[in-house]
Amino acid sequence: MGMASTDLFEKMGFRKGEGIEERWFTKLSTLFELKSWDALLRGAKYLKAELRGTTSDALLKTSFMGLDLLFSIKPPYVELYYIDRLEKPRHYAQYLPILVNCFERGCLANSDPPPPSTELVSIARFGGADTMRGYDRVFASQLLSIMPNATPEEVREAAEIVGGKMIKHLDALWAYEIEPLASVRVRFAYWPGDEELPPYVSVLYGAETLLTKIPLEDLKALTFLIISRLGAAYHLIKSRS
C-alpha cells in the first residue's frame, strides 16, 4: 500500500514543485532513512506539520502564510506539491530550505520546541551582530515600501488571509505577529510619520526563537518572505476595495 496519491493532490489543485535544488530533497530523504519515527514526529512538531505513513512511505503536510506544501517521501524519492493562495511563483522554492532545516533541527532535538518568552529581541541577537544590525533597517524599509501607510484594519484583513494576529505593542499604530515555525515568532510594529519624523517600523523576534537555533540566514530569508507575503495579502485586499 502506498501513501500519497499524487493524482489526488493534483485533483485538489496542488501543483508539482519544479526546478528545486536536489540537495533539499536529499536532506529530507536522508532523515527518513536514518531517523526513528518518533524523531521524525518531533521534526514535524518543530515545523508545525502533519506527518503520516511510515519512514519508507510518508506524507508531510505543512503550511506557511497561505502556501500549502505536501511532500510525498519514499526514500530516496521525494516529491513536492504546493498550492499558493497568493500565487507568488517562487515562494515555495524559497521557503523550502527554511522548512527542511527546521524539520532537521526538530529531528535532532532532544526536547519539544521552547515555550514563548515575554522578551523580544532584534536580529542582531542571532549572531553576526556587525553584519546583521543594519538588517533591522533593511527589513523596515522593505515593509514600508511594500505597504506604506497601512491602517490597522488593512493589516488585520491581510492577516485573515495569511495568518498571524494583531497585537498591542507599546504606542505603535499597529503591530502584527506571526509564528510560522514552532517557537519562531516574528513581530512588526508600525508608527506613522508626522511633519518631523518619517514612519518607523520595528522588527522583533520572540526571545524563544533564539533557543530554536534557527540559522541567521534562514531567519533573514524567513523575515523577507513574511514581509513579502503580508505585503501581497495587503495589496490583495487593497485591490478588492
Binding site: M3, D7, L8, K11, G13, R52, D68
Partner: protein
C-alpha cells in the same frame, strides 16, 4: 455518492471517535488508487476542511466520508466496523442503496 446526504449518518458518529476515525479515513483516501477520478469539487472541499483542521466537525466528517467511500468503499466500511461503528457502516450502506 457525492450527492448522497450523509448528514444523518455523521450525526451517529460520537465526537470521541472522530479524531481516530478521521486519521484512518484520511489514510484510506491517500492510499486509494484512482485519485484522479474523485470529483474536483469533492477533492477541493476535502482539502478545505483538511487545511482548516475541521475534518472532525460534522461538515468535514461528511466530506471525508464521501471522498473515502468514493475512492475505496470497501476499506471505508471495514474501517468503520473496526472502529466499533457498525451502525454507521450499516446506515451508509442503506443510504447508498437508496441513492442508487
Amino acid at each position: 455518492m457525492n450527492s448522497v446526504d450523509l448528514s444523518d449518518v455523521v450525526a451517529k458518529i460520537p465526537k470521541s471517535s472522530r479524531s481516530n476515525l478521521s486519521t484512518q479515513l484520511v489514510d484510506i483516501l491517500l492510499n486509494a488508487k484512482g485519485g484522479d477520478k474523485l470529483p474536483s469539487d469533492l477533492a477541493k472541499t476535502f482539502l478545505y476542511f483538511w487545511q482548516k483542521d475541521k475534518l472532525e466537525e460534522d461538515e468535514g466528517m461528511e466530506v471525508l466520508l464521501k471522498a473515502a467511500l468514493f475512492l475505496d468503499a470497501e476499506a471505508t466500511l471495514k474501517q468503520l466496523k473496526e472502529s466499533n461503528l457498525s451502525e454507521v457502516a450499516d446506515a451508509i450502506q442503506r443510504t447508498q442503496q437508496k441513492g442508487v
